[in-house]
C-alpha cells in the first residue's frame, strides 16, 4: 500500500514532526511505501521528507494529514487527494494567545479552527492525539474520532548519554526546575517564572529554572519573558536555553528535580510523557490535554496560585514519600504510551483503511 503524509512543516525536535517520522518508519517496516511531504522544512530533517510541491495526489495512494494549523495549499492538497484519507488532529493553539506576538501564525491557527468543521467528512479515519483533541473533533461534527497518542521514542531517550558540558555546568546540589516546550504564550512560561520567583525567593535560593525550547517566530514573547525575569530579579537563576539537541535535552531531564508546566493549551504535551519516563515528578496546571496525558499521575493545580504551587513544588522535591508515590504513579502511567502498543493501534487503523 502507498501511504503518504502531509504536514505544514517538518522541524527538528518538533513533536509532530517526530511523530510523522516515527509513523513513516512503522509504515516502511510493515512493507508500505510512504513519504512525508512538508511545506516548510528545517535543516537537519530535510533528508526525512520531500517538499510539498513534489506531492502528486494519486488514486491508489492513501494520505495522512497532520492538522495543527491551516495553510491553504496543504489543506487543499489533502482535499484533492482521490485515495483514502486519514486525518490526524494535533489541536490548534487558540489564536488569541499568538496574535500579539506573531500575526501570521495566529492567522494560520485561526483559519485552522475555522476550517475544522469543513473537514469533518473529508477523511475515512479521524484520529486525535488525546481525548481532549477527540472531544474537540466531535464538537466540530467529526464522526467517530479515535485516539492515537504521539509516539515518543523512549529507546532513543534511554540510549542517549546526557551532554557532558551541560552536566558539568549544572549537576550540583542546587534544585533544578524544568519546563520543556517552545517559548509560546499558550504555554505560559511567564507563570512558571512567577511560581519559580516565589519558590526561589521564599523557599530555596539555591535553585534554577530551565526554560528549554526554541523561540523562532516568538522573539517578542521571549523579550517579554526576559523583562519579567529581570523585573523579578531572577536573571541569575532563570535559563533560556533555546533549541537543544537530544543529549542536552536528556541532560536537562536527568538533572531536573521537578517538571513544572503552567501551560494553558496543549494538544498532548510530549514533554510530560518524557518527564514521566525519565522519573521527573510533574506539577502541572489543569488545562487542555494535560490532565488526560497525565492520566491521574503527577500533581495538577486547578488554580494558578503561585505561592501555593511554589509550596507544592517544595514538598514534591523535599518530601521523599510524596515524591516516591508520585514517581510510582508516573512510572505506571507512562507504560500506556509504550511505542509498541501505539504502533499496534496505528496498525489496526491502517488495516481498517486497507479493508475499507
Amino acid at each position: 500500500m502507498e501511504i503518504h503524509q502531509l504536514l505544514p512543516g517538518l522541524h527538528s525536535g518538533d513533536a509532530i514532526s517526530n511523530h510523522a517520522i516515527a509513523l513513516r518508519n512503522l509504515l516502511h517496516a510493515w512493507g508500505h511505501t510512504s513519504t512525508i511531504y512538508a511545506r516548510d522544512i528545517s535543516r537537519g530533517v530535510d533528508r526525512e521528507c520531500r517538499p510539498l510541491s513534489e506531492f502528486v495526489p494519486r488514486e491508489n495512494a492513501s494520505t495522512v494529514y497532520h492538522y495543527s494549523m491551516d495553510f491553504d495549499n496543504v489543506t487543499e492538497l489533502f482535499l484533492r487527494c482521490p485515495g483514502r484519507r486519514i486525518f490526524i488532529y494535533h489541536n490548534i493553539t487558540p489564536h488569541h494567545f499568538l496574535t500579539p506576538h506573531n500575526v501570521a501564525v495566529a492567522r494560520a491557527c485561526q483559519n485552522g479552527r475555522e476550517r475544522l468543521a469543513e473537514l469533518q467528512s473529508a477523511a475515512d479515519i479521524v484520529l486525535g492525539d488525546s481525548e481532549f483533541n477527540c472531544r474537540e473533533l466531535a464538537e466540530n461534527g467529526f464522526k467517530n474520532p479515535r485516539i492515537l497518542p504521539i509516539l515518543v521514542n523512549f529507546q532513543e531517550l534511554d540510549g542517549t548519554a546526557p551532554c557532558p558540558a551541560v552536566v558539568q555546568q549544572f549537576d550540583d546540589a542546587w534544585t533544578n526546575l524544568l519546563f520543556v516546550g517552545r517559548l509560546s504564550p499558550n504555554k505560559c512560561q511567564e507563570d512558571a517564572v512567577r511560581v519559580f520567583a516565589r519558590y526561589n525567593r521564599f523557599i530555596e535560593r539555591r535553585s534554577r529554572l530551565f526554560l528549554v525550547g526554541a523561540w523562532r517566530g516568538m522573539e517578542s514573547y521571549r523579550d517579554e519573558l526576559r523583562s519579567i525575569v529581570h523585573g523579578l530579579d531572577l536573571d541569575d537563576y532563570v535559563f533560556f536555553t533555546g533549541h537543544v539537541n537530544l543529549p542536552e535535552l536528556v541532560a536537562f531531564y536527568r538533572m531536573a528535580d521537578l517538571f513544572l508546566c503552567m501551560s494553558e493549551h496543549e494538544g498532548f504535551c510530549v514533554p510530560i510523557v518524557e518527564a514521566m519516563h525519565l522519573d521527573v515528578p510533574i506539577l502541572a496546571y489543569h488545562a487542555a490535554a494535560v490532565p488526560g496525558t497525565l492520566g491521574g499521575a503527577g500533581v495538577l493545580a486547578t488554580r494558578k496560585d503561585y505561592s501555593l504551587i511554589a509550596e507544592m513544588t517544595h514538598l514534591l522535591i523535599s518530601d521523599g514519600n510524596l515524591r516516591d508515590a508520585i514517581l510510582r504513579g508516573q512510572g505506571q502511567r507512562v507504560t500506556d504510551f509504550r511505542p509498541a502498543s501505539i504502533a499496534e493501534r496505528f496498525r489496526s487503523y491502517i488495516d481498517e483503511l486497507a479493508a475499507a
Binding site: F202, R206, H286, P291, L322, D336
Partner: protein, 198 residues
C-alpha cells in the same frame, strides 16, 4: 480549600481519569476551592495541605545565593567575547583579492605583477596565518579558562552556603504568611481576572 485524591490510575487506559469533578477543559478551571489533584491514592491529601499551610506561614524572603550573583552578566559578556572571536576567525584568511580594474593587456600585466608579489609574500602571509591561528586558539583557551575559573569560584562560594543550609533546616525560620505579599509581583486576586488580562 481541600484536596481530591485521584482515582486509581493503575487501570491501564489512555482515557483521562475520572476526577471527582472534571471541569470543561475549554473553560478556565474552577474547582471552587480544590487546588491540587494528587496522583497518588496512598497520600493523605489533608496532611499535605496542612504541611503546605504550615510551611507557608514560616516563609521570609531569603537573601541571594552568593554563588550566583552576576552570573547572567558574566555569561552575556562571555558570549560577546566568543562572538568577537568567531568574527576574528572568519576574517583571518581574508587577505583580499588579487584583482585589476584595467581590462586591456595592461590589466593582465598588473595582475601578473600583483600575483607575483603575493607569491613572494606568501611565506610571510602563511606565517601570519599561523600566528593568527595560535592567537585565536589562545584567546579561546583564555575564555574557557575564565569560564572554568568563574565556575570554580562560584562553587567555592556555594560550598559554605550548602554546609550552612544542611546545618539549619529551612522550616525553622519563623515569619508570618503575609511575607508573601512582599514579593515583587503580587499574585492575582483570582485566576480568572488574571487570565482575562492576558
Amino acid at each position: 480549600m481541600s484536596f481530591i485524591p485521584l482515582p486509581n490510575w493503575t487501570e491501564k487506559s489512555l482515557k483521562p481519569p475520572s476526577y471527582t469533578r472534571q471541569a470543561d477543559s475549554n473553560d478556565p478551571v474552577d474547582f471552587s476551592g480544590e487546588i491540587f489533584l494528587i496522583g497518588a491514592a496512598e497520600i493523605d491529601c489533608e496532611h499535605v495541605l496542612r504541611q503546605i499551610r504550615s510551611n507557608a506561614a514560616t516563609r521570609t524572603p531569603l537573601s541571594h545565593a552568593a554563588a550566583v550573583l552576576g552570573r547572567a552578566r558574566m555569561e552575556k559578556e562571555r558570549l560577546a567575547l566568543l562572538e568577537t572571536l568567531k568574527e576574528l576567525k572568519s576574517t583571518m584568511r581574508d587577505y583580499g583579492m588579487v584583482a585589476s580594474r584595467r581590462r586591456s593587456w595592461l590589466g593582465r600585466f598588473e595582475l601578473l605583477i600583483k600575483r607575483g608579489i603575493r607569491k613572494l609574500f606568501l611565506r610571510h602571509i602563511l606565517q601570519q596565518h599561523r600566528v593568527h591561528l595560535k592567537l585565536t586558539k589562545f584567546l579561546g583557551q583564555v575564555i574557557d579558562y575564565f569560564a572554568d575559573q568563574d565556575h570554580a569560584f562560584r562553587a567555592c562560594l556555594d560550598h559554605p552556603e550548602q554546609r550552612q543550609q544542611e546545618a539549619v533546616p529551612s522550616s525553622v525560620a519563623g515569619a508570618e504568611i503575609k511575607a508573601y505579599s512582599s514579593c515583587d509581583e503580587n499574585p492575582p486576586s483570582n485566576w480568572i481576572s488574571h487570565h482575562a488580562s492576558k
